[in-house]
């Protein structure tokens, strides 16, 4: 490869843009000052009435109609790959099947599903944001797998009748809460273009946020599903490791076994997430991915929650119990996040649920170990991917380039033992909450921030503690959209005394005028393998807060 990384990135960028029909490209996008929010009315202005109807229908309702066809993808720098022709072909084939057989191919018949650019799809490249991966299979040449190999999840989605049509942007390395790379640049937040779409599943967040996709898949090793979900006003689930199939996906630092990345869907409704999770589990992924455990969808878990939330307040012990973690004591959340938590707490209390204060074992100790796992190989996997092309790291991930310490087997074992002990300590704490509640019920879900701010400002994502503790403990977590920033209400805390330099940085990055209108979400965290239960709780909470 003789061309410069700049040339190769530019060629790829142009190819991506060229794949979007010219008439769909918004030529004269107004400035951020003129048009901060490009969702809602703005984007509808480019669509026909029928198109609006379709794009504003959620996955569950789309599937009800088994609608098929091509969908518009808006130019937000959120796309890595578009393959509308293949999508239309697959949609037509689904239509023929339906016409011939009189029944759908599967529960996702005709549903367009977007995929983070870690999924391998036949006929489509996987760059994962690395210039050096262009034209290769995960950076390797001559494997024979390029544009042929498919990830296990892709096979299952096809089986289920889904229509795959695009792959969405990621930050190079995947290790950032913002989305930027040298191919497509920076992925903005469509609701407030001053802000990041989040990361690393930022393309998914932006695309689903602007209703360019009804549902899509992200991955999460430190918050990468939940951050973009929260930043874009979406629901997103981080399942426990081993619930959904990661087999055959591209990844960073593959083989780091202490805290695993997991895959999960983002969408505008919980019904869509449930539809998708149930559909994938119906494929018995444990028979095709050796890391998935045989835990089918459990209706009874969902029913238990529905029974609780539908019970009258008077029926003793019937209601749910929530823990509320307003801060982790390391970095204090910004005013809109605090307000969102308050909204949820008040709504739950007014419906007869118990809310107790969540005072867990030290998150600092948990995070100290968790963040080490990202550094085990001294960034060598990431560095080698950059070295393929010579492209530079963006500042958001530049700290990896400074790493020098390679962890030894003994050091890794020590981290694993400490993580296990911290998990046990946290588990015991969770069990002990039965003593805190009047009903004697353990906390069902913990309400807390997914990040210290509604979204990060570019290059200001300074703290991952609110999402990463969940990965460290391998808990099930669902992000729930709650409100929007209101600069009149969510004013700066005057006279706030930062806890330390990091907290100061976070505090100073919040500016009501810049954040005005941004989505604000919270995170609901449950125990391990509580996907059915946490989706039911998230749906209920979403309804209570009017989302």
């Amino acid at each position: 490869m003789t061309s410069s990384w700049q040339d190769r990135a530019r060629q790829k960028r142009e190819a991506i843009l060229a794949a979007i029909p010219a008439e769909w490209v918004i030529k004269d996008l107004p400035s951020i000052e003129e048009q901060r929010d490009v969702t809602g009315e703005y984007i509808r202005g480019f669509l026909s009435e029928r198109e609006v109807e379709i794009t504003e229908t959620d996955a569950e309702k789309i599937v009800d109609k088994t609608t098929t066809g091509a969908w518009k993808a808006e130019e937000l720098h959120c796309l890595h790959e578009v393959f509308f022709d293949a999508a239309i072909e697959s949609a037509r084939s689904l239509d023929s099947y339906f016409a011939e057989q009189g029944k759908p191919v599967g529960p996702l018949h005709g549903l367009p599903v977007s995929l983070k650019d870690q999924f391998h799809v036949k006929g489509v490249e996987t760059s994962m944001g690395y210039v050096g991966w262009i034209g290769t299979f995960e950076g390797k040449v001559g494997t024979g797998k390029e544009k042929i190999f498919e990830s296990e999840m892709v096979r299952e989605l096809r089986n289920l009748g889904a229509v795959l049509y695009c792959k969405t942007s990621v930050p190079h390395t995947l290790m950032a809460g913002e989305t930027m790379n040298n191919i497509i640049g920076y992925t903005q937040n469509p609701k407030n273009r001053n802000l990041a779409a989040g990361g690393s599943s930022g393309g998914e967040g932006a695309l689903i946020g602007i209703k360019g996709s009804p549902i899509g898949f992200g991955t999460d090793i430190g918050g990468s599903i939940r951050i973009p979900a929260a930043f874009n006003g979406l629901y997103g689930i981080r399942p426990t490791t081993g619930r959904l199939p990661y087999e055959g996906m591209a990844n960073s630092m593959d083989g780091q076994n202490s805290i695993l990345s997991v895959v999960g869907p983002l969408a505008s409704t919980v019904g869509s997430l449930r539809l998708m999770t149930k559909a994938i589990l119906s494929q018995e992924p444990w028979l095709h991915d050796p890391m998935v455990h045989e835990i089918p969808w459990r209706d009874s878990h969902e029913q238990e929650i529905l029974k609780s939330v539908n019970s009258t307040g008077s029926s003793e012990g019937g209601k749910l119990c929530f823990g509320v973690m307003a801060t982790d004591g390391i970095v204090n959340p910004s005013p809109p996040i605090r307000r969102a938590i308050d909204i949820v707490v008040k709504a739950l209390c007014s419906h007869g649920h118990e809310v107790v204060e969540w005072t867990p074992p030290s998150h600092r100790a948990i995070l100290d170990e968790a963040f080490k796992t990202w550094d085990f190989d001294a960034g060598s996997d990431l560095k080698s991917s950059f070295a393929l092309s010579g492209e530079p790291m963006h500042p958001q991930v530049a700290s990896f380039s400074a790493l020098e310490k390679h962890y030894s087997a003994s050091e890794i074992s020590a981290v694993n033992v400490r993580l296990r002990n911290l998990k046990k300590e946290y588990l015991d704490y969770w069990n002990s909450t039965a003593k805190l509640s009047k009903s004697g019920r353990c906390v069902d879900a913990v309400i807390g921030p997914a990040a210290p701010w509604p979204a990060a400002r570019p290059q200001k994502y300074s703290y991952y503690g609110y999402s990463t503790w969940v990965n460290a403990l391998d808990y099930t977590s669902v992000v729930v959209p709650v409100t929007e920033v209101d600069k009149e209400i969510d004013v700066v805390d005057v006279g706030y005394k930062p806890l330390d330099e990091r907290d100061k940085k976070s505090y100073e990055s919040y500016d009501p005028s810049i954040y005005d209108g941004a989505h604000v979400g919270v995170q609901l965290v449950g125990r391990r393998f509580q996907e059915e239960k946490m989706l039911a709780i998230a749906e209920y909470v979403g309804k209570l807060v009017g989302k």
Copy 2:
């Protein structure tokens, strides 16, 4: 600590012997030549009629009667700790409960359960065979946990009504298929004292084999449950990682996360194993051990097998399908193992089940990666435990002392990725067996050796491949006793051409006259998390072969 390791080991050994009532110790044990087999008639000669009745009753039937009381432990060098007084006290307390409440404490009410010396039990030391651990908590002094801390499983066993009374011998390091250490010496096989009791749960194997315990727990990272089960004519289950709680147990190389040690029971009947597995799962261990997944006992899995084996041969597809792996092509099994496999295959075929040849992906590739995980830390964890006292390593584990290479994070990741890929390849092969069978049914279980020989001769355990592939792939496996060595039938293969030096060593270690009378077992391997199914199959196979 100023005394020599020899003095400390001797003091501990004397203390163990002193804890056994003098009148129970067999003073004049005949030589091996005079009395090779000390099970059965020989041991019965020391017991009253009533004692024979009790010791020859399996766990399931004991529980039916909720019998309580003290049990004799025979001197086979198989005990590390005896705490009969505490056991009698706990038995009495169970009796009082029953008398007062008119119901048992739990499903294991009054059942004596022996424990490998990795379990921490209040009031009892855990030496794990290391002289340097005597008087410490896992080699550390002043932790305040010595003789106070209990493993999670111990808590659950007590909840269930079990009576804990002894801890059994292990090889120092736990990394051997024989059981020897500088405290209690060598654990012999009671059925044939020329041979090893197996390891690393060798004390369990010997004790249960001689009917000194109805059921006990071992652990298995490379065969350590299955090897002693096979060597002692027992059933033993190696569950998939995350099924049963390992929380709070002592271990070697703790924190090595690529292939995890698992805990599981050994007993003389499958009914006993089922009773124990169901009982532990009824405690919802996932609420107390962060590494256990929420998979309760699934009756339906068991029923499916019962339905199959009880169906008439004529009902299409009703029968089971087995894969047979007579050799892994690396080391060929000895004649009695081949005969045991033949016995099982013939019994299954004559009952209408299908048996297909198991021709899996390369076991050599799997084992190459698996054995690396034992060496990741260059033996430093083991070496540091030996260094505490200065005691020497026994020859069976001396290779660890020669290790120098410390694996780096990148090298460990590469092993993890290769292991995952090999698991996927094996999974795909397993799925493909649907094409091999006439019924279109995938193989339900693979029949194969647990070791190349019925038992190892002392210092001749030269090949772990037959057990360790199961750990590498994390499959569920149950050992089934099949027959005994008959020197007249199981003659040496005259003119056998060894595959290589290792195979030659293995071949030469088999001697019909030395092995005569030894137990011969086989291994039944199922997919991940198939504990219910594999126990049902093992019980059925055991019945067919008359065990």
